[in-house]
Symmetry: C2
Subunit: 438 residues, 2 copies
């Protein structure tokens, strides 16, 4: 990397897709999501190098994330990229511990979503500067180099730097084998496209059949609004997919702890693999109580898990059987690496959350990193895939026969077509002006 490469400006776009018009993404808690993103463009002193990053949002409030990114950007604009990434954990510390903004979190909510977007763009820029896809950049780092990128703060009672180093070193010799395997067959994915709460029974049946024909092996149903509806829909899916394929349900935090236990038991006859987000994402103790009661059905959570400290507790309390990291809610690769390492240490498979805007593009890199450098296993691993909105990305995710294929273009894959920005920028994009002027 050219050591003089310097970030000269940060532009942020409020980007919203009117997905609520077709009930895409509807679940027990989010009845009208407009899949959106606070989208970051880092320009540099080299006209051919730009960093792109985003955090995923649901419509209203995207402007708050944009505002937070603009304030945090002051800490990286004017800096050399080499300085930022050589002591990357210190860069992260500076962002997370702004002595005034910290009060608004710390490391959670709007400010942390903003941190994620900004750091995602820095990682993109770094990977582009090295001419590699992000996953390859990370996997080519030595264990010691990788360690310097990780946000370890507040983790030491579950994972020390020494323990992390041991995990990374143990994987070194076999990284090339796993990389070759991924390039050949990809990483297993599952689809959520069939089971949204707002869909009719007929639509669910048809989408399941289509997914089966496309080679999918795992199916997820949104539940939690009405038990009889859930039982009917679970029966439909189980009937279509047969007895052996995996069926998961997702309650999107709808339940109290005791209610979750009772509801899941009422669905157990449909042979569930996991129940996702059974209750408040903040309730590690509650998840542990649920996990004990519904075993062998596993508990999965993470898409709204606010940061590594909450993941740490979920793991310490044996509250989750599946760790669903989110690429845009926690502080980018720096924080995600710490969670991957903790999950490895606690023996819990990482099955990332995706969908939304750009989450599949991001997750594609993260599962490669986990398999090659950290988790080093495919057992019980499967990454979410939702086939929405990929057409807006310059380097859209590639899925073949139900598997994520390793991205080849340099960067972290979040660059969005200029035409899409012009159409869906809120509120002045073409598509929004059509709607708002009605």
């Amino acid at each position: 990397m050219d050591p003089t490469l310097t970030i000269t400006d940060c532009k942020v776009v409020d980007l919203r897709f009117p997905t609520s018009e077709e009930a895409h993404g509807s679940d027990a808690m989010h009845s009208d999501p407009d899949y959106s993103a606070a989208y970051v463009v880092l320009t540099t002193n080299q006209s051919d190098l730009t960093g792109f990053g985003l955090t995923f949002t649901l419509g209203r409030g995207t402007d708050l994330c944009v505002g937070a990114i603009e304030q945090l950007a002051e800490k990286i604009v004017g800096k050399q990229l080499s300085t930022l990434v050589e002591s990357f954990s210190e860069t992260v510390h500076q962002l997370a511990n702004d002595s005034q903004l910290r009060w608004l979190g710390p490391e959670k909510g709007v400010v942390h979503l903003a941190t994620a977007a900004l750091l995602n763009a820095v990682w993109d820029l770094w990977a582009r500067a090295e001419g590699k896809p992000l996953w390859k950049l990370v996997c080519d780092l030595t264990p010691e180099e990788l360690l310097r990128c990780i946000n370890f703060s507040y983790l030491s009672n579950a994972l020390t730097k020494e323990q992390a180093l041991e995990i990374l070193q143990a994987n070194e010799a076999t990284k090339a084998v796993r990389e070759a395997e991924l390039l050949e067959t990809g990483f297993p994915a599952y689809t959520t496209s069939a089971g949204w709460l707002g869909y009719s029974d007929d639509l669910i049946r048809r989408l399941c059949r289509e997914a089966l024909a496309d080679g999918w092996e795992h199916f997820k149903l949104k539940v939690g609004a009405n038990l009889e509806d859930d039982r009917r829909r679970a029966a439909i899916i189980r009937e279509v997919i047969g007895p052996d394929r995996k069926l998961m349900v997702d309650a999107n935090q709808r339940w109290e702890v005791a209610e979750a236990i009772e509801w899941v038991k009422s669905l157990a006859e449909f042979n569930l693999w996991w129940v996702e987000e059974p209750t408040s994402p903040d309730d590690a103790v509650g998840h542990a109580e649920i996990a004990r009661a519904i075993a062998p059905i596993g508990v999965a959570t993470g898409e709204q898990c606010q940061n590594r400290v909450m993941f740490k507790q979920l793991l310490q309390l044996n509250a989750i059987s599946f760790c669903q990291i989110d690429s845009c809610r926690i502080g980018s690769v720096n924080e995600i690496l710490g969670v991957l390492l903790m999950a490895k240490r606690f023996g819990v498979p990482v099955c990332p959350h995706a969908g939304g805007v750009g989450l599949c593009e991001y997750v594609n890199h993260l599962v490669m990193i986990d398999y090659i450098a950290v988790g080093a296993s495919l057992e019980n691993r499967v990454a979410e895939f939702v086939d929405h909105l990929h057409e807006h990305f310059v380097y859209p995710v590639e899925v073949k026969r139900g598997h994520y294929m390793p991205p080849q273009a340099p960067g972290y894959s979040a660059e969005i077509h200029t035409a899409s920005l012009d159409d869906y920028r809120y509120p002045d994009g073409v598509e929004w002006q059509k709607r708002l002027s009605k």
Copy 2:
């Protein structure tokens, strides 16, 4: 209350005091706090009735809270106050579960701080409409009426509505006795004014002596930056206050779990009553580990405890000996009542966090409510008091001989003088224009 009383508008002010210029409020994590507030004014269809509320912030990012309040305000502007408060828990649910904004929390960070400000203003308006100080309004509700105000969601595995009702009913017969007692002697307070991290040894010694002379019995020292400094300062305070008065230390989240244990043990000889915020506010499991290791020194936390779900876990895991609710971080009286009731059920005294902007004014009401209607004990109870910025309030807190005295004016005491708004509104207030034009 007049049933036609209707909220007609919500104005929000970004208010910042340049307190960083004198190191007031400096601690291990916040080196340059500008004590600030997102300040809410709810106007109504009655010109003599207005609701005032705020959430406390530290400078940068206050604008984000202002923006979030403006978006949430759409849910209450145009509504009749009687409708909002008659099913107050439903009103809270509507605010907390906006299907798009919820993604940015849920119930944490900027959006939840905004919720607190808005609901604080609704409570103020209700109390003014009833012609009572807030504490009196709440304590005069029947247990059943009070129950309808409480946000119980996600609490049922620690506190059911039936258990809450039992607690409230058991206190009914003796409420008047405790109210009379508070009107006579007030609620015990402690001062943090002496021990800020940025203060010199001489200043600490002088402020401690002054506080002693004013009748204070509890003293708190900010620690965590340097152990030798902390030991020297703790020795100074212990020498000045003598062997029997209470000394607490506050690390403002500076430590890893093992580091906290070791550091506190190194200060134990100074006879500490509690250690406050030893590590990440999100780490209930870590706090429990610390609590087990440093007993009989107690763990205290809460000023950055994001919501009732986190307080629930701190209580379930026996992680805290003192529950430090914050009046502006969690969702106003509705959420605070749930925490007070859980603390009562788990036998943990509530010792609210205060200081900042308006926190003392709020806490003054909350400790009255806790003593009269919920906790019903003064054992190990003491509320923080910091003597800063009260001059900006129309109804400033009254402290006598180290005790908070019950407020008498109708409302929730957050109304700020118009002249103060004109001076400190950011960035166009007189005092900011002076500074920004330099």
